[in-house]
Amino acid sequence: MSSDIANHAAIRVEGVYAAYQRQPVLSDINLDFPRGRWTAIVGPNGAGKSTLFRVLTGSMSPLKGELSAFGERIFHARRAGRIAYMAQREAIEWDFPISVWDTVMTGRFGHMREDPLWQRLAPSRFVHSRHTEAVRSALADVDMLDFADRHISALSGGQKKRVLLARCLAQSADILLLDEPLAGVDPPSEALILEVLAGQRKAGRTVIMVTHDMPGARRYVDHVVLINRTVRGTGSPEDMLSDARLATLAVGSSDDDLQD
């Protein structure tokens, strides 16, 4: 029976505990992120959403517990380029001397491991055309191709988000992990981001996002995970995002001083 579920889960989380400096944040997380579906991770501030996200991307290792993707160890899936990641805007140093094009190209660095050695050691203008193609089409998808040569600091908030989304798309992965993709964007950018993600899901990709945007989640996603230190419910957006359900989720999460 369990192998059956593993076949369907894009990412499986089993018995994961995580802590910041012995301060427990997540306990006994057990989750299956269904394959080919769009999942929203929802929870109040301090509930450990971002911690769960950092565990999923590999920037934090859990105290105990296992993670797998498509039935193999998650690290192998990361190495194989099957998991893409979109950062929060605050995670990036926008003064860094790098153009929009080159920022999106960093999303290809994982796939460049498969390139022949001479190409990996040559200057970046000699990269394989499959990388330039991926970057071009990702920038076109988020409507940022005209800004390719700009320095990343010369962008508005919504444009920065779209560049980060383009970098995520350029990774050509089966799973997209997005940390608050809709936080602090202008309405046109928000609509565009949601449309792009809907297109990814339609193309059979698994989309997993942390979000605060309840209307957007109700409209678009097809699976919801409620988190508050542990899993408080999984199911359809209708069931999980009802006002009554969300009200019970917030109870017992008053330790706002904890890191989110």
């Binding site: 400096q21 950092r54 991307t57 590999g58 920037s59 690290f75 990361r78 190495r79 194989a80 380029g81 998991i83 893409a84 990641y85 950062a87 995670a91 990036i92 140093e93 860094f96 001397p97 790098i98 153009s99 080159d102 920022t103 960093t106 999303g107 660095f109 994982g110 460049m112 990996r120 050691l121 200057p123 970046s124 320095h151 600091s153 970098r167 990774q171 992990l177």
Partner: protein, 305 residues
């Protein structure tokens, strides 16, 4: 060892002298002595690798870490002197140990990173001072602290050369992982790069550069060469690869110009090299076409008008 060093460095020195002889005679004259030629080659190499590393140091906000490692090298130099080892082995060991210690304190206690660095490097530095005060003369200590590029020995020049080759190779071979780790470590992790290897590799490279620069600018001032060229280049460009080249150019030209000025004016070479670099930084700060103070004021003024 001495003979090997001479054989390896002789062709490099002659190549460098071809360039020097293109300069006006008044400047080129200073470089007719063998010790000046050795000093020149060492300065060029040190300027170049410090320039490269300083881009990573500036962008990663590692200035204090660079300062910490450079001070932590002192006890290693002293212990190596005591045991009769080549100084760079000891220097490398204590430099690397201190940076590991800083990382451990940061990760496993509630002490924050700046305090962890401050307490580890001053402790190591104090240990070095105590050992040296017992075994060596104060001129010796002065040379370690402030550099003695005019007295550089061929064997140490060979070390600087080896360190430069290693640094260049590593930055070339690991260009993309290093760039991504500097820009966005979380993305590097998500793409399956082993970021602890990249992290410690970069720290080891930093330590190697510091050890190789000891004789040229000394322990106290090497951190300037690990910050100023990168900061100057950052003022001038919005492209990482260009920043690397500009930073190397700033590092090399301040090393050469500073060395020449120190001979002509008869002042300490380490100090004059760093002062030239600082001068270049302020020029960039004022006159950079995009990020300079003057152009920014002018654009603001034009917008108001």
């Amino acid at each position: 060892m001495q003979a090997i060093a001479d054989q390896v460095t002789a062709p490099l020195i002659s190549a460098l002298m071809v360039l020097v002889n293109l300069l006006p005679a008044g400047i080129a004259d200073a470089f007719q002595y063998a010790f000046m030629q050795r000093a020149l080659l060492t300065s060029v190499l040190v300027g170049a690798i410090c320039g490269l590393l300083s881009c990573y140091v500036v962008l990663k906000r590692w200035s204090l870490l660079g300062d910490a490692i450079s001070h932590a090298v002192l006890p290693g130099v002293a212990i190596a002197y005591l045991l009769g080892w080549p100084f760079f082995i000891g220097a490398f060991i204590t430099g690397a140990l201190t940076s590991l210690g800083i990382g451990a304190i940061e990760r496993h206690t509630r002490i924050k990173s700046d305090a962890a660095m401050g307490l580890m490097f001053t402790g190591a530095f104090a240990l070095g001072i105590v050992i040296i005060s017992k075994i060596a003369t104060s001129t010796h200590l002065m040379h370690i602290l402030f550099g003695n590029v005019l007295g550089v020995q061929p064997t140490n020049m060979l070390l600087t050369l080896a360190a430069s080759v290693i640094t260049l190779l590593v930055i070339w071979l690991a260009y993309r992982p290093l760039l991504l780790y500097t820009f966005d470590p979380q993305q590097a992790q998500a793409l399956g790069f082993n970021t602890s290897i990249v992290h410690y590799g970069l720290i080891l490279l930093l330590t190697l550069t510091i050890v190789a620069s000891l004789e040229t600018v000394g322990i106290i001032l090497v951190v300037a060469m690990l910050i100023t060229p990168g900061a100057t280049a950052h003022m001038l460009t919005d492209r990482f690869a260009t920043m690397l080249w500009l930073s190397v150019a700033v590092g090399v030209s301040s090393a050469v110009l500073g060395l020449w000025l120190s001979v002509v004016l008869d002042v300490a070479s380490g100090g004059s090299i760093v002062l030239v670099a600082t001068g270049l930084f302020f020029l960039a700060l004022l006159f950079s076409p995009k990020h300079g103070v003057i152009m920014r004021q002018w654009r603001r003024w034009r917008m108001m008008a």
